[in-house]
Symmetry: C2
Amino acid sequence: MPTTRKIGVFVYENFEPIDVWGFVQAFAIARFFGQAYGDKGPYPFNISFIAKTIDPVHSYNGPRVAPDMTREEALTEQFDVLVIPGGHGTQDVLDDATIAWVRAMDAKVPLMASVCTGAAVLASAGLLDGRPAATNHNAFSWVASLRPAVVWDRISRWVDTGKYVTSAGVSSGTDMAFYLVARLCGQAVADIAAAEAEYHWQRDPRVQQPF
Amino acid sequence: MPTTRKIGVFVYENFEPIDVWGFVQAFAIARFFGQAYGDKGPYPFNISFIAKTIDPVHSYNGPRVAPDMTREEALTEQFDVLVIPGGHGTQDVLDDATIAWVRAMDAKVPLMASVCTGAAVLASAGLLDGRPAATNHNAFSWVASLRPAVVWDRISRWVDTGKYVTSAGVSSGTDMAFYLVARLCGQAVADIAAAEAEYHWQRDPRVQQPF
């Protein structure tokens, strides 16, 4: 019987909708885990929104989400994965308090991921120095300029360096999330999840960009 | 200068994450409208969550969203598009009050859309009788049995009948949403939006299913 893993998603004002919810969808629909192995075991993932306060948080040019806990509360929990999404608001979460919180979480969380410009947060915390990393293609120059010590990858849809997994822009985070489901639960579970989502999963991180 | 159109999304307990947010993403990122036509005009879409009450609403096996208004309040607004998402919770929104609300909205809203099992709600309101419609492939038999008078389409990723546009399961709603952006704002805007989202948009509604 698999253990339920805890997934934390940092949400902040003006996040990009699918940076958050494409990632959430892949893990949420991996509930079909049991079917892949002939049982109806517990859901493999529990997903929480973490924010500065528990007030609703706006997506960019879109509706709001309701956080489950504050950043301080998250430090008292044991997450298996933390993901930092991107979006127009990323420039406002490069402050000292956020970076210190990301470093504190990094000391506890075994798998740190980012989507889109979320890589700017991991990079600013110094976590990606000397490692390859992906980020949004439209914001590539800005993110890369923040931390030249990172080996920025302009080609891949996502990059897995072991503890740190970073995706390129927006929808590529969904493809990375299904990949992480495969890494954590096996390919069969991820394949069932993607099929159940009727999702055309780009399984190859070096697939041609859609532009 | 384009008018900002109002998009309403009905959210209810145990909606499927991407049924809602894939749709939201396509419209939210169409903010690049101005770029396609050489200006920085207003955002073409304003997106609101409508729910039974304004309390946070859970996605299925995932985190919560914060509604903007109640169903009663939505009746006093003029929406250009209303979308009904699907998910595990659809079976709980086939009650008389919800169906009456959908019919009342239908009398005011020029474009009604559904994602996934959301088609069960439109069908139960009698809005799809005699028309072709798509729904989730895994739940196809259940949805089709609710309203045999609908011409259920088991093949297409989405179906446009003019006022009513229905998509198949989960992620196909994202492809339909970009299609609706194209229908409302032109192909150039939708192409820019999909590229900006780094999204591999399935532009053909009869593309082979990913399973």
